[in-house]
Symmetry: C2
Subunit: 222 residues, 2 copies
């Protein structure tokens, strides 16, 4: 006879909101991707370029999480996409209740895909489900190729690893980063993770990320 | 008549350990610096170079905080300095109780200065006092010059801001970072913060940081 863990049946407030968000998105057949990384890995630059390059193919909206300022939402709005800024006022991650509010303030019915840009933090956001379709982790090459080994949780939970700022690699560069080491360490934690080395600044490698995005959106929306 | 806030008189467990650590260090006249930054800003490289360059002037020990692995403590030990690795097993910051244990395992009486390298996280470690003499925040230029505005707490609380990886700036670089903007934003939060632009890789700017370190240690130890 299996023991039933009663504790598991009681959802936390965050889990209840996450479930509500998941249902809200599923009913409307919308894809929602929760993007997580250290501060300054280039999340907003990746999103701005992705929105601009795919604007004729897919309608994207963004929920921006920051401790303070609305600098990132302003950058997204400059692309023409709708963006909602959430300020966490010190908190180190977004909560599902904040996403619930944001979803009600975005023109969700007009969108295909919603990105959540979480607070810059490679640790805490990985522990809070927001009701997203999938998590995307971004690691920029100046941060070092040891990060999957040192911060395993988010690499274990993400569908995609974007290795950003690869324009900083190459002959004469001061940045040492072994893409194969990072990929192998991430795959040890998560054998199905998709890994795309990109430069959101120069555009290098972005086409593979776009293909994944369009195919995933199609799979989910079909 | 002033109201007495009874709540303030009751210390949290972390605050009690922080006070204990502060007393332990004060009795022994040791300086302890709590280094905080995003993952991959170069904390371990800064420490390794600082230890090697100052080895004839000052005896340094290190407490390394990481979620997993002992990669950083091994890098510190390669310089010949004593290092204690703490694995937080998922927790996003070091606690004062962990520092209490580590201090008992370091040869503190043989040291002048103890660095704590906190978990890579620009948010949570700023909220947990460890009993340190001062906090040092590290911001690397690939992270962007908007970080003091977006993550203000740690910049408001630190004695020193090290702007690392300045070797990535300059003509032909793909990294945009306005040192003066970062400095001005940090000073708006904390008018007495010392700002040292450095490259721990090439050594550029490190002498000013060393001077501050030696003078501060002397002030505290004298």
């Amino acid at each position: 006879m299996q023991k039933v863990d009663v504790g598991k049946k009681i959802l936390s407030a965050n889990e209840r909101y996450a479930l509500k968000n998941r249902q809200f998105l599923a009913e409307r057949e919308k894809v929602c991707l929760n993007m997580i990384s250290s501060p300054g890995s280039g999340k907003t630059t990746i999103l701005s370029r992705t929105i601009s390059d795919l604007k004729d193919k897919i309608k994207i909206g963004v929920i921006e999480g920051d401790i303070q300022t609305d600098l990132d939402a302003e950058r997204i709005k400059a692309t023409g996409a709708p963006a909602i800024q959430i300020n966490t006022a010190g908190a180190c991650h977004l909560s599902a209740a904040q996403i619930d509010t944001a979803l009600r303030n975005l023109p969700v019915d007009d969108l295909d895909l919603i990105f959540i840009e979480n607070v810059g933090n490679l640790v805490c956001p990985s522990a809070f489900e927001l009701g997203e379709t999938a998590k995307i982790v971004v690691l920029s090459v100046p941060e070092g190729d040891d990060k999957p080994a040192k911060y395993p949780a988010i690499f274990a939970k993400s569908k995609v690893l974007l290795i950003n700022k690869i324009d900083l690699l190459g002959a004469g560069s001061h940045v040492d980063f072994d893409v194969e080491r990072a990929r192998a360490d991430a795959r040890r934690l998560n054998k199905s993770i998709e890994v795309f080395p990109i430069s959101a600044k120069t555009g290098k490698g972005m086409h593979s990320w776009y293909n994944w995005l369009l195919e995933s959106a199609e799979d989910i929306l079909s």
